[in-house]
């Protein structure tokens, strides 16, 4: 794995990370920021929904079990809103929650990332998933222009 991931690969990307565990949230945020992304945080689904509507992120990473509104509930709301319908949402699933991955895809999550998130694998996996989304893959290829 000598293919070095560019520091600036997510420059000008807006990413929303939703997780009720602050440490987990911070780790993801730091890794994304390190690669140039603008990261918004939310600690539950309701905040995540607000943030998504307000900031229109390029994609969302969301934990599944959270207080107030969980990942499922937030996804449902996002998919029912024309403004947020197009935003790819990737689930963050724990190793233990076996059935969740399948359910997540069926429920409308774009794909999933398995916790724990470590720098050694996180970016590789994330980029792999982003390449599966055509308009994001294109953006990765060409580099994203800053919106406004």
């Amino acid at each position: 794995m000598d293919k070095k991931i560019s520091r600036e690969i997510l420059k000008n990307w807006k990413v929303l990370v939703v997780d009720d565990e602050p440490d987990s949230l911070e780790v993801a945020t730091r890794m994304l920021k390190f690669h140039g992304a603008t990261v918004f945080n939310a600690s539950n689904g309701a905040d995540g929904l607000d943030s998504a509507r307000r900031h229109k992120p390029d994609f969302i990473l969301s934990d599944l079990s959270m207080p107030e509104l969980d990942g499922w509930g937030m996804l449902y709301e996002l998919k029912n809103d024309r403004a947020t319908l197009e935003i790819p949402v990737f689930a963050l699933t724990a190793h233990a929650m076996v059935g969740d991955r399948e359910r997540a895809i069926n429920a409308g999550f774009h794909n999933y990332l398995t916790k724990p998130l470590t720098p050694a694998t996180f970016m590789a996996q994330l980029l792999g998933l982003l390449e599966g989304v055509p308009h994001l893959a294109e953006a990765l290829e060409t580099g994203k222009e800053a919106h406004e």
Partner: protein
Amino acid sequence: MTQKTTLLPFWRQSRWQWVALIIIIVTVPVSAVAYLLLQQTERNLESQTFERLESVAALKLGSIEGFLDDGEGELIFLTETEIFRSQLIALAQSEADGQAISDTLRQIADSEDIINEIFVYSLDGNILSSSDRVDIGKVVRSKPFFVPSLQGETYIQPPFYDVGSSTLSLIISRPLFDEQGSLIAIVAVEMNVEALSELMTERAGLGESGETYLISLENNYLLTSSRFEGYETNRAYYSEGINRALQGQDGQGIYPDYRSPGVPVLGVYRWVPELQAALLSEIDEAEVNADLNDSVQQGILLALFLMVVALGVGLYFANSFTRPIIQMSAIAQRISGGDYSQRVQLRQKNEVGLLASSFNQMTEQLAATIQKLDAQVKEVETANQELRKANARVREAARLKSEFMATMSHELRTPLNAILGFTGIMLEGMGGEIDDDATHMIKRIQMNSERLLTLINDVLDIARIEAGRIELQSEPLRVRELLKQWELQTSVLAAQKQIQFSATVEPEVPEVLYGDSARLTQIVNNLLSNAFKFTEQGSVKLHISRLSSRWQIRVIDTGIGIPSHALNYIFDEFRQVDGSTTRAYGGSGLGLAITRNLCLMMGGTIQVESTLKQGSTFTVTLPIIAEPEKLLEPTP
């Protein structure tokens, strides 16, 4: 607990068998003795009867003799007494008138019952005089007695049928000699046969049916009156006794009477030469046996009495035998029904009493044993109940444990994930520059955290497997894509340890299979991480192939290998080759156990071949599932 005494039919009951036995024992010999006694009595009766008949016969013979002697005496009186002798000689020499002497003769004849007529006849057969005047002048030359009477001695003419009188006549004659001793006439008496008959029919000691009678050889005519038929003079009579006597034999016997072949009589018979007749003294056998019948009746009564006595005695003894047995059998039945309270009540001191007391002892022992057994059974039941409770507690504990494990997984991993995340960020330089010394220490933190995470994951996996909490997915697997992913992950490890790594798939393996990709990944990761862990140089190969309806994932390394004795247990939980391995290589020892369990859950197998210091090959064989099972297909 119903008490039901089995009732045998009475012929099966030993009481009645005993009674029957005793009756037989008593009755058979008594009957035999009675029978013999009866026989004896019968014989005695017969011989007594015969004796009586003999004596009667002898008496009658004496009477006959007396009768004849009386007749002869009369003739002697007439011929020897001077008064009559001189008159008779004068009559014979024709010197006296026959008419004149007739009166004298009649007087003598009338004075004697036994004499019918006295007459005197000349040597040429003319009746010179008679007590019956009518006969004077008649001729007796043709009469049977005439010629024998001329022999010069007293002659008794046996009874003969006299055509003239149409009766049986009995004549006794005596010659009359003159002074010179010359035979000059014959004096004769015609005896009164009826008088003889009267003598005979006096039935002293001959009961109701006894009789004595005379049968003449002449025509088998009755000489004396028959008790049953009167004085029948014109009929011939036959019977065995008559025939034998008329043949000159004396004797006795039982034979059918002249009356009818159906009337047997006991008879004594004598030949009476003087009369040329048979004397028979007889009595009906029926009358003789009448006494015997009385004896028989008495015998039967006695036998009945004895039988009743035997019945009583037999019942008494049989009861005393069988009562304890019946009692014991009833108690035995109660025992089989579970009631041990009854005892045999018996005062007998014999073997039956002994048996009864042994029976009681046995019952007591049985009751004690059963009680003990019951107590033991109760103990065992209590123990079983406790065991069941304990078992339930254990299962509950196991359930709680696995539940605890499952909930702990999140809680345990979350802080570890944070540690790993932050150390990773620091090591990648995402958190700013750090010096080498710090990098070294952070790497140690990372390594240990990773080990800790693996351990926690393994322990939780095993807990979930044991609790049956793992559900396998059935999702489409693109094997070649998966392989690429595995290769990507593993290449880091390979690069770190400078070990050659190759991942290959044979073209026969289908593009799409169905299964649980995460669990499959877990299996492959486990095998690969083991392979890298135990291989210091050489290569690790991941190879996927097809084997008819199955497919195989093979991980081949050139590591330290596994000693043959360890091959048996490396798939067991918490086992590595030995304790030192854990210290040298780390790991929970659960990886292979989890792998094996996952393989089995997928319907597959896992095998290992290994040569020490040469390397090991782990082969996972799984069924090819081309279509997902309908059950697992999520409904849209």
